[in-house]
Amino acid sequence: MPACRLYQELKRSLLVALWFIFLTFPLMVVKVDLVERVVHWRWKNMLFVGLAGFFFSFLGRWIMQRKNPGKALGKGTAWSLRFCPDPKIRKILIVLLLCLAVAFPQIFSSYQTTIMTTALMYVVLGLGLNIVVGMAGLLDLGYVAFYAVGAYSYALLNYHFHWGFWTVLPIGGLIAALFGVLLGFPVLRLRGDYLAIVTLGFGEIIRLILENWGEFSQGPSGISNISRPGFFGLELSLDAAILYIYYLMLAFVLVAIFIVGRLQHSRLGRAWIALREDEIACEAMGIDKTKTKLTAFALGAFWAGIIGVVFAAKTTFINPASFTFLESAIILSIVVLGGMGSIFGVILGAFILILLPEYLRALAQYRMLAFGILLVLLMVFRPQGLIAPGRRAYFITKKPDPET
């Protein structure tokens, strides 16, 4: 790179390093010894943080430069075309991944399987929220409310009427979708930050109702002894149930991918994306804004409801503490981190956000710190998400054009 460019990059990296030193100062440098009642100043740590920050920042910039000189951010072709242009190889890779997914519980312990099941649940949640946020561009910070609605639908119907998992599964999804429409109506005119605030409030309202309306939801103590999913009327042992739910989730993930994939390039999916890109142009081009927004809310909520039911059945105990704003934030992070609007990105995002904290346990008390730093770095270097959503390329067969 040219000298002035190099100088600029060095300067930026230096700033990044200083910023990191500032951020980690209380943790890395100051150490209060409560027994001796003295403060240790570990200046050496500061040096390390600074050097590491500088080095990695510069390295990152250099790699980015090499990858696409001229432009900072590449945009355009779909990821699948960029990463493995050969559709045959892609197919083989997908089949391999599927085999791995199917064999996973056989290879790993039931502890690992449970974690993986959770990750799969977040994949579906992410795909659901991706419809609302990624495709339709409606920033929803209260998504967890629909998850709670699904979970409580199953818990309550099971508790009062002993309805089984498979009966409630569609019902839970539909009730959640109904709530999606209920939320959708009042916020039809809102956009961006206003919408975010209202949805945030909606999520909190649902949680507060569940917490405080004791006669209805049994309040903070929650509902326990929820039935596990039945297997043709058989009672399953704990290990078998773990396996069963894992495969169920795998199936749900595949169905969700299929559905979202089909919607993405359909008439409805295009309308969602147009709505995200420019609301006024969208309605002026003949798209019914109301209908399009409501279907996005309803379909997104539907998936949250379904996963809510699965969650209640998996843990057999739920209380309002599982449905806090943090949960919405995690699901939103999955969508943003993975790349808004990209199915593969959302899957990757869910795995990173759910599995990484588990496998970072080796770092003991620095676990969440390391996790946070990783997220910050990811967003600094790939603000468009891990996988930038590409648009589908159409190949016109009718009249081949010499220029395309």
Partner: protein, 259 residues
């Protein structure tokens, strides 16, 4: 027999007490190219926004005749997408494309109100849906060819050069199969050559039997293209007539020279 396609009477809009449109009467004839001209801030764009349902007029009536013998439809109070479906499509003065979608997809959005596929159709991709989807692609591509953008099919709309973006807006509007096409300053920001090309294109489109109402800031430009011109100033119509009549109208000269 009816030769009117759009009849506007007493149209008024106010923003916080300020009249942006003041008792406007206008009628557009079938298959003509008409223009609304006037100085900046005269209310031309506001007029289009009322026609397309983006603004709600405070008084007046907008009647649309979707054919020579068709019943009048009142566009007042209709939602924007319903108006588009009736056959009125528009472009925007400050380009409003869908920048993250490809050129072809932008035009495909225009086909939305002329296609029917539902969620179920999208999921099961039955024969009818596939056929419709193919029809959308083919028609959209034909329109792109028509406006000279066939080379940009899979390019993101946001990456197109400025002139191409203006053309794409027209293509997108055409895809909705309008009877009446509203163009808001289609040549704004273009160089003389591009302006000439776009005017030529508008002439060709009109020859297909569309009615065109266009806004132009520059008076000279519309003189050659339009049969009739309406001049608006401060929300009021100050003159109407053929280009020749407009050119020699003292009120118009006054409005433009700001005397």
């Amino acid at each position: 027999m009816n030769t009117t396609i759009l009849k506007i009477s007493g149209l008024s809009v106010s923003f916080g007490g300020i009249l942006a449109l003041d008792n406007l009467d206008l009628d557009i004839k079938q298959k003509e190219i008409a223009a609304v001209i006037g100085p900046n801030g005269a209310g031309k764009t506001t007029f289009f926004n009322c026609l397309t349902g983006l603004y709600a007029p405070s008084a007046g009536e907008i009647l649309f005749y979707p054919g020579r013998d068709a019943e009048a439809v009142s566009l007042k109070g209709m939602k924007p997408h319903q108006i588009t479906e009736k056959g009125v499509a528009r472009t925007f003065q400050n380009i409003r494309l869908f920048p993250g979608m490809t050129t072809l997809e932008n035009v495909m959005i225009g086909r939305h109100c002329r296609s029917r596929a539902s969620i179920l159709g999208a999921l099961f991709r039955n024969a009818a849906t596939r056929r419709e989807e193919q029809e959308i692609i083919d028609t959209s591509y034909t329109i792109l060819e028509r406006v000279g953008l066939a080379g940009y099919v899979n390019e993101l709309a946001g990456n197109l050069p400025y002139g191409a973006q203006r053309r794409l807006e027209m293509a997108r509007a055409l895809a909705a199969e309008p009877l009446l096409l509203l163009l808001d300053e289609p040549a704004a920001g273009m160089n003389p050559q591009e302006t000439l090309n776009i005017m030529e294109l508008i002439g060709e489109i009109a020859a297909d039997g569309l009615t065109i109402l266009l806004i132009e800031h520059d008076m000279k430009l519309v003189m050659s293209l339009c049969q009739r011109i309406f001049v608006i100033d401060y929300g009021r119509k100050i003159a109407q007539g053929s280009p020749g009549e407009i050119r020699s109208n003292p009120d118009v000269i006054k409005a433009y020279l700001g005397a």
